[in-house]
C-alpha cells in the first residue's frame, strides 16, 4: 500500500516557482474523542513534516490534532537545480515515513 502521495513537476525551468503537493495517509486521531462507553481514544497524530531539496530543508511544519485526517499539505519552492526532494513525516507511537521525488531543471 502506498501511504504517501507526492506531486512534484517532473521538469521545470531554472528559477521557476513550482508547487509541491503532499498527502500522507494517517488517521490523525485527535485524542479528544471518546467511545460510547466513555473511554478516551488515545491521540495518534503526525506531529512533524519536513521537505528537503537536495539535502537542504526548504519547508517544515508542526502539525496538531486540528489537522484533518490524511494530512494534505501544499507549498512552493524555486526550482534551482536538478535533483531530489525528500519528504519525512514523524508522529506519535514512533510513526515515521519517508518519500522522495526527483526533478529535472533545465
Amino acid at each position: 500500500m502506498v501511504s504517501a502521495l507526492i506531486n512534484v513537476p517532473k521538469k521545470a525551468k531554472r528559477g521557476e516557482i513550482i508547487e509541491i503537493k503532499t498527502l500522507m495517509s494517517h488517521i490523525m486521531e485527535t485524542g479528544y474523542r471518546h467511545t460510547a462507553t466513555g473511554a478516551i481514544v488515545p491521540r495518534d497524530i503526525i506531529t512533524g513534516f519536513t521537505c528537503r531539496y537536495n539535502g537542504a530543508e526548504i519547508f517544515r511544519a508542526d502539525l496538531f490534532p486540528a489537522i484533518a485526517a490524511n494530512p494534505f499539505i501544499t507549498f512552493f519552492t524555486v526550482a534551482t537545480e536538478s535533483g531530489k526532494f525528500d519528504f519525512e513525516w514523524i508522529g506519535d507511537n514512533g510513526f515515521s515515513e519517508t518519500a522522495s521525488a526527483s526533478i529535472i531543471v533545465e
Binding site: I17, I18, T30, Y32, R33, H34, T35, A36, G38, V41, Y53, A56, E57, I58, F59, R60, A61, D62, L63, F64, P65, A66, I67, A68, A69, P71, F72, I73, T74, F75, F76, T77, V78, T80
Partner: protein, 159 residues
C-alpha cells in the same frame, strides 16, 4: 442559531441507540473543555512573544460556511516578496474553540518562491481562525476569518 453543544445528530443517534439497548439510562456527556479566547491569546503570545502583531499582508482563504468540520480546506498566503533578504519565516494558524488552540506551524524561508501554504483542517465549532505570519525582519502580521460549521469535528463519539 447555535446548536446546543450536546445535540449533534451523531451523538443523538448514538445515545438513542444505546438507550434503546439498555432501556432508559441517564445521559451524561463528558466533554473536554474547549479552547477559550484566553487560550487562543496565550497560544499566540507563545509564538510572537511581546512583539506587536499588525493586521494585514496575510490572506486566509477558508470557506465561510462548511458542512463538515472534519475536513476544511484552508490556504494562507502572505503578500511579501520572497528574496534572500526579504521573505516569510513562518506562518502560524490558530483557532478559538477546538479543544486545543493550535492548528499548525509552517516554516518557509527564502527558497519558498511564494509565501503560500494550503492544508485541510478540523473545526469543532463555528469559530474564528487566526493566521499569523512572521517576516524576515521579525515583524508579525495577522488576519482572522469567521467560519460557520454545521457538523463539528474532533470530539464526536466513535460509534
Amino acid at each position: 442559531m447555535r446548536q446546543h453543544k450536546t445535540s449533534t445528530r451523531r451523538e443523538f443517534l448514538g445515545f438513542a441507540g444505546s438507550a434503546a439497548a439498555l432501556g432508559a439510562v441517564p445521559i451524561v456527556t463528558l466533554r473536554p473543555a474547549e479552547a477559550t479566547p484566553a487560550m487562543l491569546a496565550a497560544a499566540i503570545r507563545n509564538v510572537v512573544g511581546e512583539a506587536p502583531v499588525q493586521t494585514g499582508k496575510v490572506k486566509l482563504e477558508i470557506p465561510p460556511l462548511v458542512e463538515n468540520g472534519n475536513t476544511v480546506p484552508m490556504t494562507v498566503s502572505v503578500a511579501s516578496p520572497v528574496t534572500p533578504d526579504d521573505y516569510v519565516r513562518s506562518i502560524h494558524v490558530f483557532n478559538e474553540k477546538n479543544p486545543q488552540p493550535n492548528i499548525g506551524n509552517f516554516y518557509l524561508g527564502p527558497r519558498a518562491g511564494r509565501a503560500q501554504v494550503s492544508t485541510r483542517i478540523r473545526l469543532a465549532d463555528s469559530q474564528k481562525i487566526v493566521a499569523i505570519a512572521r517576516l524576515a525582519d521579525g515583524s508579525f502580521w495577522s488576519i482572522s476569518a469567521d467560519v460557520v460549521v454545521t457538523l463539528a469535528a474532533c470530539t464526536e463519539e466513535v460509534i
